[in-house]
Symmetry: C2
Subunit: 136 residues, 2 copies
């Protein structure tokens, strides 16, 4: 009952360089806010299903099975864009995230702060310009 939209891919699974587990890590980013939501891994089946359904599908290393994100939680990730890096060993996925990406209920899985420099979080683009201007 969920919308399906298939994608054509410019690269085949064979084109990717795999890690020592035979998988490719996928960085998942909110396509609107650019917030990094999570990281997960794909095997060939996950890659093909992601393209076929237009919904992010991974390989769960803990459960050792194909994992259509959102199938149990409803928190689907609709594919907006997939980009590979210069050496074809990492995928960046820009997605439309339904609900929370993290199983903890957090929007993003990245919430355990290790360290932070004291700087102004500038959600206001004007502030960025002002800071650049100050440097100049």
């Amino acid at each position: 009952d969920i919308p399906i939209e298939s994608f054509q891919a410019a690269y085949k699974w064979e084109d990717f360089k795999k890690n020592s587990d035979g998988m490719v890590p996928v960085i998942v980013q909110d396509y609107r806010t650019q917030e990094v939501l999570m990281m997960a891994y794909m095997n060939e089946e996950a890659y093909e299903q992601t393209l076929k359904l237009g919904k992010m599908t991974y390989y769960s290393r803990s459960r050792q099975e194909l994992w259509l994100k959102g199938l149990t939680s409803g928190h689907y990730q609709y594919v907006k864009e997939l980009v590979a890096d210069c050496d074809m060993d990492t995928i960046l996925a820009k997605v439309s995230q339904i609900g929370a990406a993290c199983h903890t209920g957090s929007k993003s899985c990245f919430f355990n702060e290790i360290t932070k420099k004291d700087y102004e979080e500038s959600s206001n683009p004007l502030q960025v310009f002002e800071e650049v201007f100050d440097v100049i």
Copy 2:
């Protein structure tokens, strides 16, 4: 001759879950634009040096050695924030990138487009609000 600024960390290397190569993947994001620049890997030495120098240091899997990013190119990455994910097996680094992150000269390593849905890239925040408003 480059500025050094040490960071205190809330987590020790032992707190991280390592991948099968004994390393932790690091997603590197521009702290101002939120653009994802690259992915690299840290071992313990790289983690400690990153905190000590305030500059991103990785373990180069191809050269099998410690890799202070920018040491040869000048394209240093100054640490702004380090965050770990919910299960402590991935680090997100927000950095101030000098020059290009990619060895190809590209700002970001992610330029090999796999697939893309036709949507408006909204660099203009107003446009995002307008789109949200349309949905409501």
